[in-house]
């Protein structure tokens, strides 16, 4: 029997004294793609950030298990080293650090944690060549400072490039589609699809159904006011596109 990659159980989380997640249950198996949808303020991003270990959110109840390990007990870097990756909604600019240096540092830390050999900058460039193709980029992007002066679309592509290089088991993409034009969306989605394997899984956090035309989810969950109010197959996303979120919120209130 296959074991779940991720199990979120009864998760409650707050930012300061404001409770945002009010009991989330979510189970993700290897090979699956889950879409977490919901209106603004429903807690989608908080869920993504809590999985990655953002210090601004305090988990007050429940647990997150990753390959059976207690994720909440791990530092953000330990989670990354174990194979968890969060593509940020707003990727951070780091002036003064080249994309190549940053990504190689991250890659080598993860290699080290897995007991694998670190690579020097020449070998890393070879390794990058393949990965850059996935996001349709040339090597010149690597000498620019991390996300510094990047357009919104470039920042999202850079997240996908990082994901391609770091090869996570569990990738959480937080609104990776927001603010993308159709070409960028195609490249980003193409990258995610290219990286799908039977032993990894993807959680897409998104507001719109648009991304799901390119990345077909196995499961769709709708978040409202910090709870999953409905789960279903890919057809649920289409229904949401048609009917909006209100009927679900009403349904949730009624129950």
């Amino acid at each position: 029997m296959t074991l779940p990659l991720l199990e979120v159980k009864g998760l409650r989380a707050s930012a300061g004294d404001k409770e945002i997640l009010r009991g989330i249950d979510l189970t993700v198996y290897p090979g699956e793609v889950h879409a977490v949808m919901g209106p603004n303020g429903s807690g989608k991003s908080t869920l993504a950030q809590a999985i990655a270990g953002h210090p601004a959110y305090q988990v007050t109840a429940g647990e997150i298990l990753y390959q059976g390990q207690d994720l909440l007990d791990m530092e953000p870097e330990e989670r990354a080293q174990a194979g968890v990756f969060l593509a940020f909604q707003y990727p951070v600019e780091i002036p003064g650090v080249s994309n190549a240096y940053f990504l190689r540092a991250a890659y080598n830390e993860i290699q080290k944690a897995r007991g694998l050999e670190e690579v020097d900058s020449m070998d890393f460039l070879d390794l990058l060549e393949e990965k850059l193709k996935i996001v349709e980029w040339g090597p010149e992007i690597m000498s620019r400072a991390v996300n510094s002066g990047f357009s919104g679309g470039e920042k999202k592509r850079n997240e996908i490039l990082q994901m391609a290089v770091l090869q996570p088991r569990l990738a959480v993409l937080d609104e990776t589609d927001s603010g993308l034009d159709i070409d960028a969306l195609r490249i980003v989605a193409g990258g995610v699809n290219a990286l799908r394997r039977p032993d990894n899984a993807t959680v897409l956090v998104t507001h719109y159904q648009r991304l799901l035309n390119y990345i077909v989810p196995d499961h769709v969950h709708v978040l409202s006011a910090g709870r999953i109010v409905k789960s279903g197959g890919k057809e649920l996303a289409l229904e949401l596109e048609e009917r909006g979120y209100e009927w679900l919120e009403d349904e949730a209130l009624a129950s």
Partner: protein, 433 residues
């Protein structure tokens, strides 16, 4: 005021008066009287409010010791991998010919000040003691009163230097308890181009000694100078320095100043823009830790129209260290179309560190563009989390972001071997955390 120090001035001067040219004697005498009148500064003095010099003023300092044994090998780490650069080496303040490297370059004089004084070079008379005013600081007056040796660089009109010239001041264990007053003069004549590196280093990191240098720089019309100053004294040492720059029409001065040594380290950098269309770029980086105090005071005198000054100083503070930054920009009424920008950014790595930063713009012309900005902050939490979320451990992420902050200003050094060395020093300092 410490009577011991005054006695030493008298003593040192008594020993060297014979070598002083007639024209210089009154300059030194005026400086001696000036220092006698002011004494050491106190915290009541606005210019020294945050930098108490009691440990310097109260101690009794010996004159610099005589020759100490130093080998070429020991100096290797300070020469940027370039034994082919013209280098004047001073050990505990005195010129050491056997350690120096003087290559003949047409149009260029690179000799010790002591030698230049003995030869009574005519250039000296129009420049030495003519640029740096003894009123600039009591320490500058003390230096002028006691000047004996240092570097003398003269680049004749129209000469373009391909390689940097290096003035290297080394303290040895024998320097413990002593003071030196290096005096440098750099004259770049009309249309000439040069790069000068001025280093203060130690072979005895735990010794307490005091270096009190003054460097005068004169740039002729359309002259160009890149001046890199590297202060790597021991962390128990004291350093009080003044650099004064006089610039003529169309000249370009680019300075980079690193300060990472000294228990108390103060550097005054004053640039006077004496004519139109002058460009002055001042970059600086200071790294302080433990109980260090590092103080940079800069002054830019915009006396004429159509000049541009650009200043960026950055600081990284750790432990219980202190930094002081004071940046003055004076714009005279006739200095229309002045373009002046000043930035001072500080990164605090610990709760115990502290910065006093004060931009001070005094603008008397109305058609100018003058801006300034000062920040004091910590590492960006979001950038830290972002790095950690990629697998980079917290301590490593802090180092990476600190490095990026500081390296941005090092990137302004255009001499690649020097830039590489500065980056290495920065990495080494961060790895020692």
């Amino acid at each position: 005021m410490s009577p011991a120090t005054l006695q030493e001035i008298e003593m040192q001067n008594a020993g060297t008066t014979a070598e002083l040219p007639d024209w210089l004697e009154p300059v030194c005498r005026a400086a001696r009287e000036r220092f006698r009148a002011t004494g050491f500064p106190t915290s009541r003095d606005e210019e020294w409010r945050f930098t108490p010099v009691g440990p310097i003023a109260k101690a009794s300092w010996r004159p610099a010791p005589p020759a100490a044994a130093v080998t070429q090998d020991q100096l290797k780490e300070f020469e940027f991998g370039h034994p082919d650069w013209n280098t004047l080496v001073f050990v505990n303040g005195s010129y050491r010919e056997e350690l120096s490297r003087g290559f003949t370059i047409p149009g260029v004089r690179v000799i010790s000040l002591a030698e230049a004084l003995r030869a009574n070079e005519t250039v000296l008379q129009s420049h030495l003691g003519r640029h740096a005013p003894i009123e600039a600081s009591p320490f500058a007056a003390l230096n002028t009163a006691t000047m004996r040796d240092g570097g003398f660089i003269h680049v004749a009109a129209g000469t373009e230097l391909l390689r940097p010239l290096h003035l290297l001041f080394v303290a040895t264990p024998e320097a413990a308890g002593s003071v030196v007053h290096p005096r440098n003069l750099i004259v770049v004549e009309r249309g000439a181009r040069a790069a000068v590196v001025e280093s203060y280093v130690t072979l005895s990191p735990d010794s307490s000694y005091w270096t009190n240098p003054v460097t005068e720089v004169s740039l002729g019309g359309n002259a160009w100078l890149e001046h890199t100053r590297i202060q790597r004294e021991g962390e128990r040492a004291y350093h009080t320095g003044l650099t004064h720059v006089d610039q003529q029409r169309d000249s370009h001065y680019r300075s980079f100043s690193l300060a990472m040594g000294g228990a108390i380290a103060r550097h005054n950098l004053h640039a006077r823009l004496n004519d139109e269309n002058v460009e002055t770029l001042l970059y600086g980086l200071y790294l302080a830790r433990r109980e260090q105090l590092v103080d940079n005071h800069t002054v830019i005198y915009h006396d004429h129209p159509n000049c541009r000054s650009w200043e960026v100083y950055k600081g990284v503070l750790d432990g219980r260290s202190r930094a002081v930054f004071n940046g003055k920009v004076f714009v005279k009424p006739e200095a229309q179309k002045t373009d002046a920008k000043q930035t001072n950014r500080n990164l605090l790595l610990s709760d115990g560190a502290r910065v006093d930063t004060k931009p001070q713009l005094e603008i008397f012309a109305d058609d100018v563009k003058c801006t300034h900005g000062a920040t004091v902050g910590q590492l960006d939490d979001i950038a830290l989390f972002y790095s950690r979320s990629r697998g980079i451990p917290s301590a490593e992420a802090q180092r990476l972001l600190t490095y990026a902050f500081a390296a941005e200003v090092i990137a302004e050094v255009s001499l690649e071997p020097v830039r590489n060395e500065l980056e290495r020093l920065l990495r080494e300092r961060l790895e020692a955390r």
